[in-house]
């Protein structure tokens, strides 16, 4: 393969580029979904192709195709070079790259059981069983799904790095939809909304997630929600459970820490960031108990990998230390501008996409309290569980997030269920109100399969490690 890819890059070199790299990828996918125990969707796909990125005259060019015949190579590389030349002619930039070690490496998947070796019958039977358990009165629709990807990726650069990586991606989840006698419709998911939870483990992740064992509670909570009163409005102490905390970390810490946003190159679409460069090292963004890392090295985490799509080795770096903004997610290009080391966050959603600065596994490190301790110290509050709705401004400051499931906390005890619970705030003020973080026993890394960014739109796979967290005096419940 190295020889084959070298030929591709030889074409680029002959066109006098400063730098070029090529990613060749083969991706196998299988998505399976049951609705009311019937196979609603059983889709497989195979994607094979390559993308070539070139730097010429200080500007980037990128082209990709799934035509892998040798004769298409020259044309694709020329197209990338042509785009770089056009960009250079109308721009004043002179893009430079921070240097990185040249590596030759092979990184193998951590999956113990290859999901593509598990029979379709076994997968369907498992989902059917989970779905059947949710079949209780008022639950009119039951969904159970699994999704798998197997990725084989090669990276070669004109700096002579050659990296081969294999990776498995496994996800599964269930959702119960309930309707009350009054026609109120609510849904509840396990272990999270949007297909459940995801990891880079193999089929063993499905077994561990235990959809069947959690299905009845999921269905019962959907029914309870359909009969529940609306979440009250006001200022209250809140506890955000791990699956919702993943969203909170994602939107108000992860995205604003992307250095392309900070430096303006995503301004027109995704937006900019409140974490401006002048704040690095000095800005008290959160309470001192908050420590957040970008860690692509945790085995099995959905945001882990061997090397990013620039050939930078996966790393663990601090974004927030003792509540202070400590660092950013970067690329070779932005690292050159800031004088930092590349930390390995440039990733593309498939060979057909240009790599962007993306989150890896952004993890809020555990605290020292049990969930019960955190609840017992609340007089008037609400517990939020499960992602339902999210909206945040283009600087990642003002947000409004909704959960699937709410519980009133009164005088230190969990009380009645409430529907459509929402909370809102301004990112730094919100994080500064954090006064308790759940301990290691509650810690889990949640996989996110659908982080949207860039134009053309890319969906990235990443993750967030967290325990339940308590915030004081927050505004809740906007719907009247």
């Amino acid at each position: 393969m190295k020889n084959k890819l070298s030929f591709y890059l030889d074409v680029a070199k002959s066109l006098h580029v400063q730098y070029a790299d090529i990613r060749f990828e083969e991706i196998h996918s299988h998505d399976l979904r049951l609705r009311n125990e019937s196979v609603d969707s059983n889709r497989m796909s195979v994607q094979i192709g390559y993308g070539v990125r070139v730097l010429k005259n200080g500007s980037w060019g990128f082209a990709s195709t799934n035509n892998i015949e040798q004769k298409s190579v020259e044309e694709t590389v020329k197209q990338a070079v042509q785009l770089a030349e056009i960009a250079a002619k109308v721009s004043t930039q002179n893009i430079q790259l921070a240097s990185i070690p040249v590596v030759e490496d092979f990184v193998e998947s951590v999956a113990a059981i290859d999901p593509f070796e598990v029979s379709l019958e076994e997968k369907i039977e498992y989902l059917k069983e989970a779905s059947s358990v949710m079949k209780i009165p008022s639950v009119f629709l039951r969904e159970a799904s699994m999704s798998f990807r197997k990725l084989h990726k090669f990276f070669l650069s004109t700096e002579d790095s050659f990296i081969e990586q294999t990776r498995h991606e496994t996800g599964c989840g269930i959702t119960a939809f309930a309707r009350s006698d009054q026609g109120e419709f609510q849904s509840r998911s396990y272990p999270n909304a949007f297909g459940g939870d995801y990891s880079t483990f193999g089929y063993e992740f499905v077994t561990k997630t235990d959809l069947v064992g959690n299905a009845l509670q999921c269905a019962q909570e959907a029914v309870a929600l359909s009969n529940a009163p609306l979440c009250p409005s006001g200022t209250k102490d809140i506890i955000i459970m791990g699956n919702q905390m993943a969203l909170q970390i994602h939107e108000s810490i992860g995205h604003p820490a992307e250095l392309d946003r900070v430096m303006g190159s995503e301004a027109a679409y995704a937006g900019t960031s409140y974490m401006t460069r002048d704040k690095c090292g000095v800005f008290q963004l959160a309470s001192p108990i908050v420590n957040i890392t970008a860690d692509a090295t945790v085995p099995g985490a959905f945001g882990s990998f061997g090397y990013d799509d620039e050939g930078v080795k996966a790393q663990k770096v601090y974004l927030i230390k003792k509540g202070i903004l400590e660092g950013y997610l970067n690329s070779r290009e932005t690292a050159y501008k800031t004088g930092d080391q590349p930390m390995g966050a440039m990733r593309a959603d498939g060979y057909w996409n240009y790599p962007l600065i993306r989150m890896t596994s952004i993890n809020l490190l555990p605290g020292d309290q049990s969930l019960q301790q955190m609840i017992s110290d609340i007089d008037d509050g609400i517990l939020f569980d499960g992602i339902k709705s999210w909206s945040i401004d283009d600087r990642r400051m003002n947000f409004q997030f909704g959960s699937q499931y709410g519980r009133i906390i009164r005088k230190g005890n969990l009380q009645e269920v409430v529907k459509n619970p929402t909370y809102m705030g301004e990112s730094p003020t919100f994080w500064k109100s954090c006064d308790a973080i759940g301990d290691e026993s509650h810690y889990h890394i949640y996989g996110v399969p659908n982080c949207g960014k860039g134009e053309p739109g890319q969906l990235m796979k990443l993750s967030h490690g967290t325990s339940p967290v308590r915030f004081r005096n927050r505004k809740v419940g906007v719907i009247q």
Partner: protein, 447 residues
Amino acid sequence: MKIMDSNLTQQTLAYLQKNLSGWEYQVSFHQTESTMLRFAQSNIHQNNRSVQTSIGIELARGKRVARTNLDANNFDEIVNSIQSLQSICETIAENQEFSGYPEPPSQLEQVKENPTIDPEEFYDKSLSFFPVYFQQVKNASLEAYGSFLFENFHAACVNSNGLVNQSNSSSVQFQSQIMNGRVSGYSQSTAKTIQDLAIERVIEESIETCQNGISPATIEPGDYTVFLKPEAVADIVRMMAFISMGTKAIDEKRSYLSGKLNTKVLDSCLNITEDPLHPKQISMYMDHQGYPHIHPVKMIQNGVFHDMVFDDKFAKKYNKSNTGNALPGNMGPIPTNLVLESSTTQDPTEMISQVEKGIYVTRFWYANPVSPIDGEVTALTRDGTFWIENGQMKPVKNLRYSDNIFEVLSGILAVGNDSRFTGSFFGGTVAPSLLCKKMRFTEVLPE
């Protein structure tokens, strides 16, 4: 070369006809060519050219169904995949909701083919207008951000009932966001050809909005009269289509429109039609099952919820005609080419001049349903928010709205004559500016 005429397509079809007697099948071929130039700080900092061919194959034996998508260009791999699907269909559990594939319409009406964008013309245009645009922005001490892109998409679809159809769609889009520190202005134009793109209008609007936005004031949250530019209206209509106008959501009583057929749901001056052949729409003329998507569906007439869109499955269920609205996956039929119109329109400047007190919104950002069945949506204003008082505009800080979007469009004071197309993930919306009686703004953003 058209995708239907390619050797690979013809080989695949011949194989299916010869070897899949007694099977139901649906095969779709897609060919995409796209190029995007992204710019920031008045430099083209990223670009992306992609040429892809893919094939989707779905086989069914009774109610046992399996599907695969292939990027491959290799006939042997396609045959392997078909054989693999055949084995899966022998054993897989049944899909009780599977209802077969559409029959071909009695007459396949011919529709004029969409023009195709020439990449070289796109590159020539880029080289000629970007230097002028960047210089113009620099002269105003501002910075340009945005994107310039084209896409040529061609699809063909064949099924075992004898339906054979193909269509294409091309679009070119220019988006300009002009920034001065944190103050920004935005405009866009999307067209079928490069010649039809309103580049000058986009540049002028985005620069002017930015220049007028300096030193925004703070206003209190509350209910305000609101002037929405076409892109802001399109954002609301897109959300309405996604959470409420899909037939599956209506059928499963998950939609605000469930049980409201023939009921007034919007202001009586508004009509919303699914109309891919509308002169300002950009669309393929068939759906994802190859069924023609060419006849308008009057979904909202004079504010009354009048009709729904159908794919083959829901057309059979409701005993209605297939409107050609099948989408990929299992979302069910959703309108993707909506046109919002009114019989009476005004110039937007006149609309603004009649506002005593209200808010002007250029576009929205990060819209998301809070409670889909209630039509409750939240989103933020972006790239030009102004306070209007007695027709005069002053910049204000961005705002968050949280409101029932059906109620917002139930009180219309005026409709603009500035209708334009705004693209989205699937299709796009043609909409004019609207002056709405009331929208609930719940928060003010920091500058």
